[in-house]
């Protein structure tokens, strides 16, 4: 069986995965289901629903991946499973 350290590491990794997948699902799908409602708002001339699909969600994806790389590395380090530099 796995040692407690290993289980803890994988629990934390799995939790981070669920968080990331939830954000991904929200910005990849859920928010675009409300495109008609969002389009009534205008920013810089863009209808907001259109803006989210053309730029907003993309910016979130980029930012979340940089954050993910840091967060997962932190989990690895705290559990002692990170690679040597």
């Amino acid at each position: 069986m796995n040692s407690p350290d290993e289980s803890k590491h994988w629990d934390k990794t799995s939790r981070l995965m669920i968080t990331m997948m939830s954000i991904w699902f929200f910005f990849g799908f859920v928010i675009h289901m409300f495109v008609n409602q969002l389009n009534t708002i205008k920013i810089f001339g863009f209808p907001f629903g259109y803006y989210m699909a053309a730029q907003g969600s993309l910016i979130v994806f980029v930012a979340m991946l940089f954050w993910f790389a840091k967060a997962q590395d932190k989990i690895d380090r705290e559990s002692g499973f990170a690679e040597d530099e």
């Binding site: 796995n2 290993e6 590491h9 994988w10 990794t13 799995s14 995965m17 990331m20 997948m21 991904w24 910005f27 990849g28 799908f29 675009h32 289901m33 495109v35 008609n36 389009n39 205008k42 920013i43 810089f44 001339g45 863009f46 209808p47 629903g49 259109y50 803006y51 699909a53 053309a54 730029q55 969600s57 993309l58 910016i59 994806f61 980029v62 979340m64 991946l65 940089f66 993910f68 790389a69 997962q72 590395d73 690895d76 002692g80 499973f81 990170a82 690679e83 040597d84």
Partner: protein, 661 residues
């Protein structure tokens, strides 16, 4: 010899910033030189040849100096590509000729619904980073089937992986070579078939001698060319028209103007309510139904996370940590192009709406005829090759007043990017730059795909399945021979101009998604998934996806008659696209291997699902079968479960060890 090669590699990787800095500066100087030559009166065609010739020579030079005789250099670039540069290489690997030239045009034609591609091809990287790539890097695979073989104990899983890989990569590489031919034909006036084989040489010289190592460093160079070429015209256009060189912000006002013009067209009778309902730029779901829109996003995202030529880029980083960082960099570099594409579409549409629609047919601007002569712009249903042709064509339409209406105008998706320099009134040097960028995009993707295919054949089939004791030298020779064979086969196929090639590329995503994603994800995240489950799941998921594609496209009559498929629905009106009963009764109703001209081809399906998102059936079936069969059969051995644990922890080096001599 080995030590020398390593130390040279070390020097090279520690000087990357300087080397690519000089390269970028040299490229800028070259653009200025061509601009000066243009002023001096050198003809455009020579300038075009200079652009393409110079860039291809640079790629060839990098390809040749990166040659290698080491297996790990050949397959994974020695695993010393820094995250940042691997991100650039992945950007070039990922963005195909069609992305570069055609994506903005699709957004022009589809409006909001085209954003499914933008979302799908970026959001997929979240899945790559979180679910798949770092774990494959830890395992230390050379190819994606390597992982399947190790995790699911044996060559059956490996063979299935190779099959899926070939199915989704080969048509894709044919399309890339096709794109190089088209670009060379349009910009250099070369014969298409000659251009295809010249493109083939350009691809081979980059990949054959140095494998992954050479492809990596050329792809970085190609990324720089393609992103500069994509951004420059639209940045200048934005600065000229809106006084701000940030097209991604200024196209908001272009969209507002487009919407206002659309409303005025209806008021002035230049477009009917029905035409406008189907074409309004920011109105969602007028090209795809909401279900199709979201299914397409899902299939593109999951496909992205399963395409072997993308995943294998993350095998080249020095560590698992770098693999994660590298996915983030990749997405940033890809994002730069994809969030600019809608700006191209909006500026181009504004140009068409404000200078063409509502004007006299006799007064069209010059660029309409430039592209009309190539058959890429149509007016009143005829290619706009001269004023006389289109005037006659419009007069032939009943009730046409000689004023261009919205429905009279047709444009090929490639024109949007290609015509922007001309619309912005920029000199030819910028058009040459765009050609070099499109070529860089097509060549780099072709390199990555060819390597993925040749590596699967040489490493997975020849080395792992046929001759496990093959010495290194022979393995590398086999790899190179197979690379040339696959490349020539792809170029030959492209030179025949297969009609369905573009449709097939969009299928690659669904095939990869349904065939590989469940096995990769469950292989890492579910220890209980075993060999029997994986094999059953891959066959069920991939099989169903392929069945749906082939039946809806090539056997639509049989689909409707025997497999319960019905006509797809018009997304705006909800009416069926075709009368299935009538089409089946026609003499050609049950014809097989029908071309796109068959009335039912790609217009029938289950649950109104377009076949471009066919993984929407194969993907869940693959997951369910894999999960269920695994639960019904014995758990994987303790050894395999330990293997999964090992993949999950970054520490401790790769699992798969390569013999080095």
């Amino acid at each position: 010899m080995t030590a020398q090669a390593t130390s040279r590699g070390g020097d090279f990787t520690s000087n990357l910033g300087r080397i690519y800095g000089i390269y970028t500066g040299g490229f800028a100087a070259f653009i200025i030189l061509v601009a000066i030559l243009e002023r001096a009166g050198v003809p455009n065609q020579i300038l075009g040849y200079m652009f393409v010739g110079f860039t291809v020579l640079v790629y060839a030079f990098i390809g040749i100096v990166s040659r290698t005789v080491q297996v790990s250099e050949y397959y994974v670039a020695g695993r010393k590509v820094p995250a940042f540069y691997n991100g650039m290489a992945t950007g070039a690997d990922w963005m195909s000729g069609a992305s570069f030239v055609g994506m903005a045009g699709s957004l022009f034609l589809l409006g909001y619904d085209g954003l499914a591609f933008v979302l799908g091809w970026t959001g997929g990287y979240v899945l790559v980073a979180v679910l798949v790539a770092p774990f494959l890097r830890k395992f230390g695979a050379y190819t994606v089937p390597d992982f399947l073989a190790a995790r699911y104990g044996g060559n059956t899983a490996r063979m299935l992986g190779v099959m899926v890989l070939l199915a989704c990569s080969f048509t894709y590489v044919v399309a890339q070579i096709f794109a190089t031919g088209l670009i060379a034909q349009r910009f250099l006036g070369m014969d298409f078939v000659v251009a295809v084989y010249v493109g083939l040489l350009g691809i081979l010289v980059c990949s054959m001698l140095g494998g992954m190592r050479a492809v990596t460093w050329t792809q970085v160079a190609q990324y720089i060319v393609l992103i500069v070429a994509y951004l420059v015209p639209v940045v200048i256009l934005s600065a000229k028209k809106f006084g701000l060189p940030i097209p991604q912000l200024t196209y908001g006002s272009a969209i507002a103007e487009i919407t206002a013009l659309e409303q005025s067209f209806v008021a002035k009778g230049l477009a009917t309510e029905a035409v406008m309902a189907a074409k309004a730029h920011t109105t969602p779901f007028n090209s795809y139904s909401p279900a199709n829109y979201f299914a397409l996003i899902l299939c593109l995202m999951v496909g992205t996370a399963s395409l072997p030529h993308v995943l294998m880029r993350y095998f080249t980083t020095p560590s698992v940590r770098d693999a994660r960082m590298s996915v983030a960099w990749s997405l940033l570099f890809i994002f730069l192009l994809y969030f600019t594409a809608p700006a191209y579409a909006a500026f181009s549409k504004l140009e068409v709406y404000s200078t063409l629609i509502g004007k006299n047919v006799a007064d069209m601007p010059a660029w309409v005829f430039t592209y009309g002569k190539l058959g890429l712009v149509t007016i009143c249903g005829k290619a706009a090759d001269s004023v006389a042709t289109i005037t006659a064509a419009c007069q032939a339409l009943p009730g046409h007043a000689g004023v261009l209406r919205l429905q009279d105008f047709g444009i090929n998706t490639d024109v949007v990017v290609l015509s922007t320099p001309e619309i912005a009134g920029l000199p030819y040097v910028i058009a040459g730059l765009v050609a070099a960028g499109g070529l860089a995009a097509a060549l780099s993707t072709a390199d990555g795909l060819l390597l993925a295919i040749a590596n699967a054949l040489s490493h997975d089939i020849y080395y792992k399945m046929i001759d496990k004791n093959a010495p290194t030298a022979r393995r590398l020779i086999v790899s190179r021979v197979l690379l040339v064979v696959v490349a020539v086969a792809a170029a030959w196929t492209a030179s025949k101009r297969p009609a369905d090639i573009l449709a097939m590329v969009s299928w690659a995503f669904s095939l990869a998604a349904a065939g590989l994603f469940p096995a990769l994800v469950l292989g890492i995240w579910d220890k209980r998934t075993n060999r029997a489950g994986a094999i059953a799941g891959i066959i069920a998921g991939f099989g169903l996806c392929l069945f749906y594609l082939v039946v809806t496209r090539y056997f639509p009559g049989h689909g409707a008659a025997y497999f319960g498929m019905s006509s797809l629905l018009n997304p705006v009106t909800g009416a069926p696209l075709v009368d299935v009963a009538k089409a089946l009764a026609a003499p050609n109703g049950m014809e097989t291997w029908v071309a796109g001209t068959h009335p039912l081809a790609s217009k029938v399906g289950w649950f109104n699902m377009n076949n471009i998102s066919s993984a929407i059936f194969g993907l869940p079936v693959g997951f369910i079968v894999m999960f269920a069969v695994s639960r019904l059969t014995a758990a994987p051995s303790q050894e395999l479960q330990d293997f999964v644990d090992n993949c999950r922890r970054p520490r401790g080096g790769t699992i798969m060890e390569e013999k080095t001599t």
